[in-house]
Every structure is written in C-alpha cells, then in structure tokens.
Amino acid sequence: MRTLRLTVNGAPVVREVADHRLLVDFLREDLKLTGTKEGCGIGVCGACTVLLDGKPISSCLALAVHADGGQVTTIEGVAAGDRLHPLQEAFLAHGGYQCGICTPGQILAAKALLDANPRPTKADIQYWMMGNLCRCTGYYKIIESIAAAAGVE
C-alpha cells in the first residue's frame, strides 16, 4: 500500500492504494467514476482510455501509482459543469455513438488529438483513433463527429 496524491478531473485526491492496483479499478471502484469502461483488459480496445497529464492512456494497463502526482481526466471531467465540450456536442449531433460503451474512451482520445492538433485531417483522425474500437457505428460518424468538433469538413 502507498499514499497516492493526484488530481482527478481538477480535484485533488489522496488515497491509499495497493501497489498493483490498476488505474481502471482505482477510478471505477475506489473513486466510483464508472464512466471509464473496461473492455478487453489488455490495452487493445481503448474503452478504458483516460488522459494522464493530457496524454491518452489505457487505464487497464496502467497502475494507479503510475498516476501519482499527475493530472487524470476521465469522461466525468470533460464537460464544464452542464456545458458540454464541443466533442460531446458533436458526438450527439452527428450520431458518433450508439450503445455508448466505447464513447467515453473515444471522446477522451479525440480530446487529446484536438488538444495537440486542433485542425486534423480525416487521415490524422483515423490514424490517431485506431486504438479505440467501436462495434456499433462502423466509425464513419465518429470521424464526422471529431471533424465537426474541430470545425474541419
């Protein structure tokens, strides 16, 4: 066990965690932030994507202690209160989700893309998002949503 000090969605968090506690379990079970989903458990599907210091990571592969001293953003922290993030608005308007299980991961991965590259091309979007699987949409509307949020055609 060790004491973990980090910032989650802008708020300070201090918790005792086991050294081998996975970040996804820490978020979902200890902090009850169940918006982060676990799909494959091996870092392939991207459903558990969260941002650590602004970079997308698979929280199913990261240890909670890996986030010590860091800033974690989960889907619960993407909107500013009731004001949705432009990506959330775009996913709603363009049907970039269906069952919604991969959506938190998609939005966080896309947020990291737009933070790094505000005007991505369609090819940039595809390349960046290839680690986030979606079984419902066939991806076309995810691309449309991200492009719309970025204001590119």
Binding site: G41, C45, L92, C99, G100, I101, L133, G138, Y140, K141
Partner: protein, 759 residues
C-alpha cells in the same frame, strides 16, 4: 400500393438521441457499473478439456482462503437446466464437462483477485473422454452422444414456420432437423439444362460488443431478488430465471440498465443464475463480469455453418430449383437461442424466383463453445453461400453477375422460394440503383475487382410489445417500455413516434425503461422487430389516450366528444375554442382527472406481405505477390419506407456494413482441438477505424413498409449479405474463388498459385 414516405413533425427528423447526454458524459449506467453495500465478486473455474468426466472436486483450500464467502460446485446448486428453448445448460457442470470453458466451480469473494486466487486452490480431477469436434463427425452412427439425458423444452416456444420440424430426431447429436419443401425439386432438377453444386463453410465469429456479459444479483431479506444484467429482453429473461430456479416472477426484479452492445449475443442469462446461487450461498450481493478472454472463448458466438447448394437452371439461366442442406454447429449446449434452429434458411434465395425449393436444416451438438444468436441468426452464413453460388453459376455460364441477378430477381406475382406471397417487390430496382451509383460497368484497372450481393428480409412482427403511456398534469407525455435500448436508438424512435401521434415536439416526450415489476411485457430488440412492434403498441396506446383527452376537452369546452378536433402541438379545439395540452391537463388535474394513463399492445405475428431489399457492391484491390486484399469502396443500396430518424437509420447501415467487413476480412473464432485460440482482442481482429472503405449509401424511398407510418426494417439489411460481395470482387479481380470465410491472404495466394500451375 406503395406507401408514401413521409416526414412529420417528429418522424423523419434527425433527433438527438434520448440517451445521448448520459452516454457522452459517462453517466449512462451499464450492468457492471452498479454497486451495492456489501457487494462481493464472483468468478468461475472452467474446464480445460472439450469432454471430460469430473471425477472429483476438492474445494477445501479455496474455502479456507480469507475473503472467500462461497465456493460452489455442481453438487451445491440445484439440479436444474437452463435454456431459452432447449433446457440443456447446467448452472455448473455436474459429472461431465462438455467444452473447453464449461463452468465447473465458482467462488464469491471480497475482490476479484481473491476470487481468482481461490479458483487456483480448487483441485479438479478429470478423466478425459474422446470429444466430438465437428458436426459431420457428431452425426456419424456410433459417435459419442454429447447429451444422453432427455432435454426438456420451454413450453410454447417452438416456431416451426414452414415445413416439418423434428426435435432430437434419431440422428446422433442432432438437436433439430427442419425440412422444407415447395414444388417438385427432383423433377425440376432432372429437367434442368444445367445443375451446379457447391459447398461453403462459414466459421463462427463473435458478436464483438465491447461490454462483456455482466450481472449483479442481490437477494433481499424479504425474498425479492434484484437483478442488473446485460440482457436485451428482461421480461423473457425473468420468465426463464423463474422457470429454472423456481422463484416466482413477481419476486424477481430485473432493473433497467444500459446495454453496451448486443448484436444478438445478449439474449441469454449467461452467468446470472450462477450469480444468484453465489449470492444465496454468500448471503451478499454478488457481481460477475466476464473477462474479455471468457467472452471470446466461452460465451455464445455465431454458429459455424456448412452449406451445400444444388441449383438447376433452364437454357435462359433462370433458376428452376434449389436443393439445400444446411448444417449448423451449435456447440455444447442448445439453450442459448430461443428457437429450435436458426431462421437463416429463409434467406435461401428470398431474393430470387425459385419455383421449386427443398431445404434441410440440421442443428448439431459438438464439444465446442456453445453458439448463440448474432445479427440475423443463420442468415449471414446462408447468404454467403447463396450469393457466392449464384456468382459462381453466372461466371460458369459467362453471364455478368448483375445480369444473372436481374434475370432471376423476384418480382411482384412470384411466390417466394417457400411459397409465400409478398408484394411491391423492388429487388431489380434496388440492384439497378446500386449498380448505377457504383459504376458497375465503368472500366477498371488490372488487379481491381468488383462484386455484388443482394438480400431480402421483412421486418419482424413476432413477440409481444406493451407500452404504458402517461399524459401528465403538465401536459408532458411519458412512455414506459420494458426493454433496454441496445444501442440502436429504439428509445429515441419511441419518443419520436409518441410525439408524432400527438403532434408534439419529441422534447415533450420522455421515455422510461421500467423494471420488470413496473413495466409490462416487452420481448426486446431482436429480429428487426422493435420499431414495428413497439410502434404498434405506441399507436394503440396513443389512440386510447387521444380519446380520453378528447373526452376531457369536450367536458372542458362544453361540447360533445365527437365535436372535438385534435390540432397541432397536442391542442384540442371545438366550436372555435382551442385549448392546449398543458392547459387541458392542468384543468383536469384540478378535478383529479390527471394523469391520463393508457396501455397499448401490438398484435404479434400478424401476416404481412411486406419485405424489403438491399444490394451491396464492393471494389477490392488484390496484390498478386502477397494475396493481400484491400477493400477500396462499398456502395450499399436499400429499399426503404419511412425513415423515422435519419441518424440512427444511417448508423444501422454503417455499423452493419463494417461488422460484415470484419466477418469477410478478418474475424474468425478459431478452434483448435475444440478450444478457442483467438482468445483476446489482439488475436480476434475486429475492424478498426483504419479498415473502413469509402462508402456510398443509396436509399430508394417509397418501399412497402409494414411498420408504424410505413417503416421498413434496417438493422440486418446492411449486414447479412455483404461478405459475398467482397469475395465475389476478389474472384473478379484475380479469378480466385473463396468458399470459406474470412478472406485470408494465404488462401488468395494459394488460389493464385493453383491458377498459375493450371494455366
């Protein structure tokens, strides 16, 4: 008469989904997201052998582990069998394990880690028995009998449809044998100008939903059992749970949850019954979430199929008869599907004029992972065979594949291959619209190939749907449904339909999913039924509610109910006076007459002459050096009626297509010595965002819709026949015929080698 495609105030609008904000903010709650005080975690131990006698199980060391609250084996749970029709699935294997992954023991503990440590402390002694690993092997005389015990059937669930159905006929390991006949096949084949016979194999694929099967069971002190489970039909699931464990239905409450993808795979109880027995033994709420590894190796993927087709043609290349034998490998248990067999046989050339037709469908046990339903059960397998076979015949006769299909396309006046009558058949029109958009006749470069496949299916009308519609004191309307939205947009469609009936904006309508105690029966999303069946229930409830509101308006306006007219925005008018719904309901509330609540129900299995068509066109580039196939573009053409929500409709098209691309290009549940070896998402290749081709969708409005406001179904239309368009394109490119899915570069290269040697 063709239905007119209409756009109303609420239908036809690209309305944002009612579950949207919850889903983009992470607030939507899936079964695995629920949490209860005192909750512990269940895990199970699975057989490593395809067929083995369980000699002994020693659980003492597991029980001694701190944090373990319950350890169960087959001896500790009721000797009952679960099944949606065939009741052959034990809670835990007793005496014998029937596939690699069969559950033999289970643990509930304070954490998943402790539960898994406890599993490692369970000693099981097995005696390996010779397994049966293929359907053909299973049917041989003298083959080991996988289920020697008599298998009970759930009452009232057998739907034979056409033909003669025999359950558990005297062929080893056969679950069901269905024979269908229309016309004189033997005579027609004898008189045919040419007869072609081909055999096709379709391996299993996984539904690929990202949310694994999850459940949480809590048994209250009062005996009420609360269940949160990723299941698309909670009312049916509850009935099956009650029938299996002997707890009355009104003591079982299935709570509303969001479903993280279904695609046919989440119709069973999976681990829920085991979870119940763990909760009972531990006296604590228990949660079980399958790992992705368990999902891929031990859930209920699509049935393996072997399909032999024999088709006779006359001198004009017109089909005179088809004789088919379809063998579905069901794996170790039959109970994961609600019917005796898969309805895919009805896809056998439903697109073609086939005057004589005979089909035998066998569903067979093997010692492999049990199979379930997936997006149009049985149809993708059969459609791959038929659409490859027709292409092979066209090529052998020197006919253009589009021309071959146009020549044989079913049209008004033709019975279906099984003798049904349908009308407003736009098969040829759908082919032509797609071919035009695709540029079928345009010149192409070497190494580029083009293929077509076509499909037909009516909307589902089976199963009961019931809704409760409440017009509140504030004039807002709530519609309660009894099943989750599996992701398709069903709840949003419900809101739009209610709004349309009352001339309101969908914003004035709330959709609530009730639990199984508060909501009425809903069979759930399957078989392209829910828009039609829930739509009928909504129409019935809306009619009643409008009558009740008109009576209230008459009272308020001092006139006869027959003088009241319903106007825009849910208002009511009589003799020059208008009252809007909030004002009317406010007035009614003061007199104790609000809310107004009405139930509506559909009429299941109404005979319908409705169907619709799809035509898919694929263009591939094949690398002759490596055999690699690249899918460059798809054109998908659909014969559609009224589209209620263009966003969700197009979402069904795009998602269905890319699932089919997966089945064609990369997905296969690979079995080796009975075990699934594609055991994680690194080995089981779902399409990624990099794998999607350029896409053009062509919609032909004006289709014959039987659903509310003349809708046609879409969810399976975009998916079923697509793989054959791609393999047909590979043949067009390099002359290599693939009779087995998926396309693998090795197979293409091997085919190219054979052609070189032969040439």
């Amino acid at each position: 008469m063709a239905a007119v495609t209409r756009t109303g105030k609420a239908i036809g609008q690209p309305m944002q989904r009612v579950d949207g904000i919850a889903k983009v903010t992470g607030r939507a709650r899936y079964a695995g997201d629920f949490d209860l005080p005192g909750m512990i975690f269940g895990r199970c131990l699975r057989s490593p052998y395809p067929r083995a006698r369980i000699v002994s199980i020693d659980t003492r060391r597991a029980k001694a582990l701190p944090g373990v609250h319950a350890v169960l084996t087959g001896a500790d749970v009721a000797d009952v069998r679960y099944g949606r029709l065939c009741r052959d699935v034990p809670i835990l294997a007793k005496d014998i394990a029937l596939f690699v992954g069969d559950k033999v023991a289970a643990v509930a503990a304070d954490s998943v880690e402790i539960a898994e440590a406890a599993l490692e402390r369970i000693a099981v002694e097995y005696e390996e028995l010779p397994p049966v690993l293929s359907a053909e092997e299973a049917m041989r005389p003298g083959a080991p009998v996988i289920h020697p015990e008599p298998v009970a059937l759930m009452p009232g669930a057998i739907a034979g449809g056409h033909g003669e159905l025999r359950m558990y006929p005297p062929i080893p390991n056969v679950i069901s044998q269905l024979t269908l006949r229309h016309g004189d096949v033997a005579g027609a084949l004898a008189g045919a100008s040419k007869v072609f016979e081909h055999v096709f194999t379709v391996p299993p694929v996984h539904q690929g939903y990202i949310e694994p099967h999850s459940c949480l069971v809590s048994i209250g002190a009062d005996g009420l059992v609360d269940v949160w489970v990723a299941n698309k039909g909670p009312h049916i699931a509850r009935a099956h749970m009650a029938a299996t464990i002997g707890v009355p239905e009104d003591r079982l409450r299935f709570n509303p949850v969001t479903i993280g993808g279904d695609f046919g795979g989440k119709g069973s109880l999976m681990d829920t019954l085991l979870c119940y027995y763990l909760a009972r033994a531990a006296r604590r709420p228990v949660k079980m979430v399958m790992t992705s590894f368990e999902e891929l190796t031990a859930a209920n993927p699509r049935h393996t199929a072997n399909i032999r087709l024999r088709t006779g043609l006359d001198r004009d290349a017109k089909i005179v008869a088809i004789d088919a034998r379809i063998v579905f490998d069901a794996g170790a248990y039959a109970g994961f599907i609600p019917g005796p067999t898969l309805h895919g046989y009805s896809e056998l050339a439903g697109t073609y004029r086939v005057p004589n037709c005979a089909i035998e469908v066998l569903r067979v046990y093997t010692n492999t992972v049990p199979r379930g339903h997936m997006r149009s059960p049985g149809s993708p397998q059969v459609a791959f065979a038929v659409e490859s076979h027709i292409d092979m015949i066209a090529r052998a006769l020197g006919l253009d594949p589009v021309e071959m299909r146009r020549r044989n396309a079913i049209a008004d006046g033709d019975p279906t291959p099984l003798g049904d009558r349908r009308r407003h058949l736009r098969c040829r029109e759908t082919i032509d619209a797609g071919a035009r958009a695709f540029g079928w006749d345009a010149p192409k470069a070497p190494g580029i190939g083009r293929g077509i496949s076509i499909y037909e299916h009516p909307a589902g009308t089976f199963g009961r749907s019931t809704v409760t519609l409440t017009v509140g004191a504030d004039g807002r309307i709530t519609v309660m449904v009894g099943a989750p939205d599996t992701g398709t947009g069903f709840h949003t469609i419900a809101a739009q339909l209610v709004a349309e009936h009352f001339g309101l904006s969908p914003d004035a309508v709330a959709v609530v999913q009730g639990d199984t105690l508060t909501s009425d029966f809903e069979a759930g999303s399957s078989g392209m039924r829910v828009t039609t069946t829930v739509g009928q229930a909504i129409a019935a409830a809306a009619d009643k509610a409008k009558q009740a509101l008109a009576a209230l308006a008459a009272e308020r306006l001092n006139c006869a109910p027959s003088d009241v007219r319903m106007g825009e925005g849910g208002s009511f008018a009589a003799s020059g006076t208008t009252i809007d719904l909030p004002a009317l309901m406010g007035w009614a509330a003061e007199r104790g007459k609000a809310p107004v609540t009405c139930k509506g129900e559909n009429t299941p299995n109404q005979p319908s002459d409705q169907t619709s068509f799809a035509a898919h066109f694929a263009e591939v580039a094949v690398d002759r050096e490596t055999g690699q196939v690249r899918l460059r573009r798809l054109v998908t053409a659909h014969d559609v009626g009224t589209i209620i929500n263009p966003i969700t409709h197009q979402g069904q098209i795009e998602g269905g297509l890319i699932q089919a691309v997966g089945q064609a290009m990369s997905e296969q549940v690979v079995l080796k010595e009975g075990a699934v070896i594609t055991a994680h998402l690194g080995d089981y290749k779902l399409p990624t965002i990099m794998d999607i081709p350029a896409l053009e969708t062509v919609l032909l409005p004006g289709g014959n819709g039987s659903g509310p406001f003349a809708t046609t179904a879409i969810g399976e239309m975009s998916n079923v026949a697509v793989p054959a368009a791609i393999t047909n394109a590979v043949f067009d490119a390099v002359g290599v015929r693939l009779v087995e899915l998926p396309i693998r570069a090795e197979k293409v290269l091997e085919g190219l080698g054979e052609r070189t040697r032969a040439g």
